[in-house]
């Protein structure tokens, strides 16, 4: 176990170093001129040169990379050319909004997905099973940005039931920051009105993101359930005369849901991509939208910071998933 974690941590460092290499050199060959971006369209050549000196953009590429890495090792991700704030503090500002969105999407998506998967497996070949398979594939196939627009069109423009975007309505003050998640913070502060407002703002983006999660989870659980249902110990349990319910809950589900843990890493990858699109459309002030703005504005430091953080979280999630799985299923031994 210890060796596994150590090996994976070494691998993680290698991957993250690779990520800095790729993002750094890719961003430096990008056509945009960051000095022009910072100085504005009317700046003269002298001003541009001055900016290049301040940000070290006049240095050779390798020197710039060494400086970047040395800053990075000290926890400094550089300054965003657009917001003029340290990327680290920008990320700290935007991160909770994304976490709130992702948590709800994962929670709801996984629950519904498990339910669908179980139902499909128990009624294999029946119309319900075919229906679930179709919903699962549709969930993974429907363009998130199209769904988001259709939801806005229906629930905001036509029915006026839900807000268009953002985290809170204009005029509703943010709750005192504890976790950064508005739903949790408003509950902690006893601000029921703010809580209700935060929830209504979450509904549409979470629904779009959760649909893909449902698809992924339902497929995984269905396959896993079918495998477990064919095992000898299930037949034994049935032969012992145990109730259908007991066989399902104690014997089938407990074993079938184990492999579902392994796709949490995949789910995260899916979410990261989804968040990117969904936050942009719903004007959700999270990391995805920050990344979008950064990429479009050739904001090197912000782009690299976001990519690095996402890669870090992605690798960490996969490590945690593997370790948790090892605990849950003692039969597995990673080599």
């Amino acid at each position: 176990m210890g060796r596994l974690i150590a090996r994976r941590l070494v691998f993680m460092v290698f991957v993250l170093w690779g990520v800095t290499l790729i993002t750094f050199f890719l961003s430096r060959v990008a056509p945009g001129d960051p000095a022009r971006l910072i100085a504005g369209p009317r700046a003269n050549a002298a001003a541009l040169e001055h900016i290049r000196q301040i940000y070290g953009l006049d240095q050779p590429l390798v020197q710039q990379y060494i400086t970047y890495m040395s800053d990075l090792l000290h926890g400094d991700l550089g300054t965003s050319f657009v917001t003029r704030q340290p990327v680290r503090s920008d990320l700290a500002t935007f991160f909770p909004a994304t976490v709130e969105l992702a948590l709800f999407a994962m929670l709801i998506g996984s629950t519904v997905g498990v339910l669908f998967g179980v139902v499909a497996a128990l009624h294999r070949g029946a119309p319900g099973d075919v229906g679930v398979r179709f919903v699962a594939i549709a969930g993974l196939s429907l363009p998130a940005f199209w769904l988001a627009m259709l939801f806005q069109l229906t629930f905001y423009s036509r029915l006026a039931w839900l807000p268009f975007g953002g985290r809170l309505a204009t005029g509703v003050p943010a709750p005192p920051a504890v976790t950064g998640l508005y739903t949790v913070d408003s509950l902690l502060a006893g601000q029921w009105h703010t809580f209700a407002d935060a929830v209504t703002h979450l509904v549409l983006p979470v629904a779009v993101l959760a649909l893909a999660e449902v698809g992924l989870m339902a497929r995984m659980v269905r396959t896993s359930m079918l495998e477990v249902l064919g095992e000898d110990y299930i037949r034994t349990a049935q032969a012992k005369g145990l109730s259908r319910r007991r066989v399902l809950m104690r014997h089938t589900l407990r074993n079938a849901l184990l492999p579902a843990v392994t796709i949490l890493g995949l789910e995260f990858g899916l979410l990261a991509g989804g968040v990117f699109l969904v936050e942009t459309i719903f004007a959700w002030p999270g990391v995805g939208r920050y990344a979008y703005d950064a990429i479009r504005a050739s904001d090197y430091n912000a782009t690299m910071g976001v990519t690095l953080v996402i890669a870090l979280v992605y690798v960490l999630v996969n490590l945690v998933v593997d370790v948790v799985y090892l605990f849950l299923d003692p039969r597995i031994r990673y080599t």
Binding site: A30, F134, L140, P143, M149, S157, F268
Partner: protein, 298 residues
């Protein structure tokens, strides 16, 4: 994370021939074949049946709702949305084909080299794939596309970068299994050159699996291309690409429902069709293939 399992490629290859068996396996397979057939037909013949050229501007007909003259209505330049949606089918299929051909070629070559040569070469290639797979796919593709500058060609390049590692791994896994099999050893003993073994034996046996994997990826390639175009990183105006059309439609969402709806519907149906087909193929071919092919990883 997913271990590649041994398969019976020859058997898989034989089964591929039986199309009727596939259609009988599930009703969803029939739906998939119909949708994909329709999309391919539209891509090829769409321009012949389109009532207007896709970029034909008619400012007197701006933002007209669906009617007999304009089946899907018109956009903010008075262009016929039906004609543009038809033209979009060709673009989507063309882009997906280029992306997958590039990825399959790079992935297959590197996978075979990795599996056959082994040692340090294998280690370097596999660590490179690990590196590319450590990013969520869409974000990596967006970063590359943004770096290269917004255009459809750069989108194809960016997406090929995202897809190839999966093929390299798949092919390497197969090569590792196959190279120990009797028929390869027999060929080697008979004095066959490495080139002959690769082309005559390895490629023939690896290809059915690669084709199924590619069929699983067509839908995602189309979806990703549109997603990048939607973000402004792919096709640029006035190209009638579905994602780019939806970006234009965003500002008109509230009052002109048909504008974002039809391009999106075309995209959704196409991706669902290809994913159903890929999924059906994977399930039908061989249960043991499921471990080595993956779906829904994005």
């Amino acid at each position: 994370m997913i271990e590649v399992t041994a398969v019976e490629p020859v058997r898989a290859h034989r089964r591929l021939d039986s199309v009727t068996g596939f259609l009988h396996a599930s009703r969803l397979n029939v739906i998939a074949v119909i949708i994909v057939g329709l999309v391919v037909a539209v891509a090829i013949f769409g321009t012949f049946v389109a009532p207007y050229p896709p970029n034909h501007i008619d400012l007197l007909q701006r933002l007209r709702p669906p009617s007999v003259h304009h089946l899907f209505g018109t956009d903010d330049y008075g262009r016929d949305l039906f004609s543009r949606v038809l033209a979009g089918a060709w673009i989507s299929l063309y882009v997906a084909t280029v992306i997958l051909l590039t990825s399959v070629a790079i992935g297959t070559i590197l996978g075979i080299v990795s599996g056959l040569v082994g040692g340090l070469t294998d280690e370097i290639i596999m660590r490179a794939t690990d590196l590319f797979l450590a990013f969520p796919a869409l974000i990596l593709a967006a970063a590359i596309a943004a770096t290269l500058g917004p255009s459809l060609t750069h989108t194809m390049l960016a997406l090929s970068t995202v897809f190839w590692p999966w093929y390299a791994r798949l092919v390497r896994g197969q090569v590792l299994t196959l190279r120990e099999r009797e028929f390869i050893l027999a060929a080697r003993v008979a004095g066959a050159s490495t080139g002959r073994i690769v082309f005559k034996h390895l490629l023939r046996n690896v290809f059915p699996l690669v084709i199924v994997q590619a069929s699983l990826d067509v839908g995602y390639a189309i979806l990703f291309t549109s997603s990048l175009s939607f973000l402004g990183l792919g096709a640029q105006p006035p190209t009638p690409e579905w994602g780019a059309m939806m970006t234009d439609a965003r500002s008109f969402l509230e009052d002109f429902w048909w504008y974002p709806t039809f391009p999106g519907l075309a995209l959704a149906v196409t991706v669902v069709g290809f994913n159903l087909l890929g999924d059906g193929l994977r399930d039908w071919l061989d249960p043991r293939l499921r471990g080595s092919l993956r779906a829904g990883r994005w």
